[in-house]
């Protein structure tokens, strides 16, 4: 296995007294695409939020390139090259399209991604660069959210349900640009409700159920039955 970029070891996650993740373990190699699937409430977003530093984690529960980063706050994780495209896009409503992209790059991390390249990837954004971000369609907003994350030149890109609320043709369009995004050696973790899309895009898959990993394997090796069983717990 090539270099492990991200290692999650027995991660527990809590929201106050409520435990959302129970001993979750996961690995992502450099340049790999890993999908995390599961029903609503399985803990997929919590997992991404923990990796991104929004939810507190035990120091050694998350390792980035071998360095323990559990407990590092979100802005610290961003500085270390972890970028999250959050569920629901969460663009900054007071900022224009271009300003949202610019603020994504405000850390000034070196790398191939900059404003012209993002506009190359999503040309429609260039046409609407000065529009207030809430005025864009759902698909365009998703592009801005991805572009904003790319502007920080991350090593690890986390995508939380980027297909949510979008028409299938738009989802296919966005996923169609993944190869370009991956061409620079980025690692990708995608959380998806759309299992077909997830399996098509990913090298390996983890399935979560009620906060636990119940199934894992390469995308090709998992059968329909196994996935259904793991997904629904029947």
């Amino acid at each position: 296995m090539p270099d492990t970029l991200l290692e999650v070891r027995s991660l527990d996650a809590f929201y106050g007294d409520f435990q959302a993740l129970f001993g979750v373990s996961l690995e992502v190699a450099a340049g790999e695409v890993v999908a995390v699937i599961g029903a609503n409430g399985a803990g997929k977003s919590t997992l991404l939020n923990s990796i991104a530093g929004l939810v507190h984690a035990r120091g050694d529960a998350i390792l980035l390139a071998g360095e323990p980063v559990g407990g590092v706050p979100a802005y610290g994780m961003a500085a270390r090259g972890v970028a999250l495209v959050p569920e629901g896009r969460r663009l900054f409503p007071s900022l224009t399209v271009e300003e949202n992209l610019l603020i994504g790059g405000q850390l000034g991390r070196p790398g191939p991604w900059n404003l012209p390249r993002v506009y190359d990837l999503f040309p429609v954004l260039a046409q609407r660069r000065h529009a207030p971000s809430p005025s864009l369609s759902g698909g365009q907003q998703q592009m801005v959210a991805i572009g904003r994350a790319l502007m920080s030149n991350p090593k690890l890109l986390l995508c939380d349900e980027i297909s949510l609320g979008l028409a299938p043709i738009v989802v296919r369009d966005i996923y169609g640009r993944l190869p370009t995004i991956l061409s620079e050696g980025l690692s990708l973790v995608i959380v998806e409700q759309d299992i077909v899309q997830a399996l098509a895009a990913a090298n390996r898959v983890y399935c979560l159920q009620e906060g636990r990993v119940v199934l894992t394997g390469t995308a090709g090796s998992l059968t329909r039955e196994a996935i259904s069983a793991a997904y629904f717990g029947v």
């Binding site: 979100a74 802005y75 900054f92 900022l95 994504g104 405000q106």
Partner: protein
Amino acid sequence: MEWANIILQGVLVGGLYAMFAAGLSLIFGVMRLVNIAHGDLIVLAAYLALVVTETLGINPLASLAFVVPAMALIGYALQRGLLNQTLGDDLLPPLLVTFGLSVIIQNGLLELFTADSRRLQAGGIEVDSIQLGTGLAVGTLPLIQFALAVAVIAGLQWLFYRTALGRAFRATSDDQAMAQLVGLDNRRVFALAMALSLAVVAIAGVLLAIRTNFDPAIGPARLIFGFEAVIMGGLGSMWGTLAGGVILGVAQAIGAQIDPGWQVLAGHIAFLVVLAVRPQGLFPKVQG
């Protein structure tokens, strides 16, 4: 012509009120915090200017070069060291802590400087005036104050909408968690916002010190004037804040003309009327 002069005076003093308000409005916009010690910090800046001008023997306007950076530093330290700890969902802690701060500053100044009234001499411009056509004269100092107020507000607008720092302010104000995800350390952003606010407070304080007599107890009234200007102008709009300040200044000027004891009261009444009739202010941008 008498009334025209009075209204003009009101407009010009409105610039000063707008400056009281600008710092307040900035902080509320970025971190939803109302600093009850705001007025007392204006007075603190005035006393700082007093110390600087007396020690260095320079003109009060020149003292801005010292007072502005000093207050900015105080703002950064205050936010980082104290006020950041109070921020959260509960509104009681920041309100009570800044209230406590207000009491501390007032009484600290009282201990250091006594309750004596002070004033800074600016070498004559306080009494200079410029003739504007028949019968209309405007004081040089009020004119400078107003020009400075416009410059400060224009500067803040530029900063908020044309710079990276302004983007950081707006983003943090929109969504704190998402701002962290793009690498913004909230604690630093808030501290910078407070530093900026107190820089504006510094300018307002120095101008106040030249314009009127000041003592440790006048802080709360400045807070109230700033607050009234913000509410009348409309939350979230810098130019609205200028408009609010002007309205307050004019209301007070008219009140003073009717009866000197009515000056401040007239301003309060104007505020209450706007609150009753158009509570969102005249040029609102955000819902408070």
